[in-house]
Symmetry: C2
Subunit: 369 residues, 2 copies
């Protein structure tokens, strides 16, 4: 076994999920993620945790959903009972075809997800972590060779997470003290309120309320959004290519939108429910191990010198205890590049310019623009 696979498993089990003896662990294994699953099983055995592996396959989901009449039972008892009794839920993505469910209608997808809301919420109450095993289909989606993609993925995953967590704590402090964020870039001039919200130092560990591996972002839940934003990082959403999405906000809601490509997908998302017209997340990418877009949200949104915003559901971790944030059946991230001609302000003070934070070398304290 490639030693990097074993290191990936160790980071996932120890740093990310903090697995302990006696933990009941669900390991959701993608069709092509077998090798990582074996390494994770080994680590779980060492820890004396209890392992149940489930199987995640876009082709199985598609076959099931295409054949079903669409009247889905609410929260099937066996699946609900499984997550209710799980301490840890590890999801290892990695299929053979990232477009395997591209021909499932959004109505079917939404009906299925809505019928499982309690299962989803219960799963989000465990120490859950999502990661991916670098597969050939992910390499293809990234326009990369398999070997180069493996290098890329492990650079992003096998970081010094403690050191990155320290750096991200500085940005978190700025956001926690601030009331308003302004993002200015090419095609973008957007203001958002963040007062009363708590930023998450997303250091790829449940100990930081962070549930993705790789991670490396600081995110909060904005509201009262005004202005416009251009998302210039290309993505695939629900199996469709999306490019140069432009959203215009007034008093927190999307009032206009268009896209160079994939506008129908954006329309579907925005029409899901009221919450889908509002932002649920403002995230600032800080993982410099990610040096290019690979059309995979798990990586792209964490990339250093990017900012992302999500339409839809907000995370509880950003909200005061007991307060409900933006609610929606969806949470869809869109990304903008801030490496050039951009600035991020908190209460009028520039904290990042052209991708450099003000505590970094290279930060331009007296710019011409």
């Amino acid at each position: 076994m490639d030693e990097r696979v074993r290191e990936h498993a160790e980071v996932l089990v120890d740093w990310s999920a903090r697995v302990e003896t006696g933990d009941n662990v669900v390991l959701a294994v993608g069709v092509d993620a077998h090798e990582l699953a074996v390494a994770v099983a080994e680590r779980l055995g060492e820890r004396g945790a209890n392992l149940l592996a489930t199987y995640s396959s876009g082709e199985i989901t598609r076959a099931y959903l295409q054949a079903h009449d669409g009247e889905f039972d609410e929260n099937p008892a066996h699946e609900l009972a499984l997550v209710e009794h799980a301490d840890v839920y590890l999801s290892i993505g990695g299929g053979r075809n990232t477009s395997a469910t591209a021909d499932i209608s959004s109505e079917t997808r939404q009906a299925y997800n809505s019928a499982r809301a309690t299962i989803r919420d219960t799963r989000l109450g465990t120490r859950w972590v999502s990661t991916v095993h670098p597969t050939r289909s992910l390499a293809q989606q990234a326009n990369m060779s398999y070997e180069a993609y493996q290098e890329f993925a492990y650079d992003a995953i096998l970081r010094d997470w403690e050191s990155l967590a320290d750096e991200m704590a500085r940005l978190k402090a700025e956001l926690d003290d601030g009331s308003e964020v302004r993002l200015v870039s090419s095609g973008t001039d957007l203001t958002m309120r963040i007062d009363g919200r708590t930023a998450v130092n997303s250091a790829a560990s449940v100990a930081y309320d962070s549930h993705n591996l790789p991670s490396g972002e600081v995110f909060t839940a904005p509201y009262a959004t005004d202005g416009e934003v251009l998302f210039d990082v290309p993505m695939t959403i629900h199996g469709e290519s999306v490019r140069n999405v432009r959203l215009e906000f007034d008093a927190g809601e999307v009032v206009e939108y268009d896209a160079e490509q994939g506008e129908d997908v954006i329309a579907e998302i925005i029409d899901t429910d009221d919450g889908a017209r509002r932002l649920g997340e403002l995230g600032i990418g800080m993982n410099r191990g990610i040096d290019r877009y690979t059309d995979n949200i798990l990586f792209d949104e964490k990339m250093g010198e990017t900012v992302h915003l999500a339409l839809g559901r907000a995370y509880d971790a950003n909200l005061p205890e007991g307060e409900t944030g933006n609610e929606s059946a969806v949470h869809v991230d869109l990304i903008t590049d801030v490496s050039e001609a951009s600035r991020l302000e908190v209460d009028g003070e520039v904290i990042q310019r052209n991708g450099q934070f003000r505590w970094e070398e290279g930060f331009d304290a007296s710019p011409t623009q």
Copy 2:
């Protein structure tokens, strides 16, 4: 998709497991059984059942068990809750290496299985069915090409099950009316009591208390076994080749044994517990779609013109309501060929000679021997 895969899924879901709308189904998928899993998912969607797929991998099991200290938690709550809330449990075998767990010690294997006894018993309380997807590793184990193995497997699986069930009902009637069975063949002269026991017409459907696909056997739970038996059908047990096992019984218990190959495996099994020295099953193979041994118990024991006996646990279905049969942590089948120079008697009357039942054409009513 190969149309036979879809037919296999239909037999499994409709004939075998009798899946209905709203059933909570666990589908345990072997690493190489993906294609059948997709077909089963499609059928479950049509039926409006609720699908949760788990992942079965010898490599994952091995990695976990090798790393574990051997002090296993009893019946982990998440796995137990899952089977407690399942109506149907479909297991689709099919790995990449039938010897994937060959280097797990029998102590570890037994400790792991013993710790999960309640999970196992709960699973056996669902409408459970085990089948296999024909894979390259199973073809290899059978010394067959992949294509020839597929033909073989589908001949065994895609039968006219209703018609076979009718034929098997005749043998069941003989056994239910009988008190003593005698099996005579080369190296074998064995008598067993069967009075008070009920034979199962194993027609590959939960409606017949039959849980294997393919099936095609009639089995009961014998006791008070006397005499000796030679199992001349070669097998692999716990990853080891076993050939020409000879058991000698006195008053129901094994008093002597040897084997041309794999005697250590037989010794391990017999030493598991007291019940492992007694028989839990007498089965008579009646599936003539199975025309050769393929070193896979699911098929071999159902083969027409064979008889098998299992050391260990008896099935409740053979016993009067509330009565406990032979108990053991193991149930290991061994097979003998009865196509030549053999006879099976019930209370002194020959019901099968040289593989032919007395209701079949070709049965020799007045033999010289």
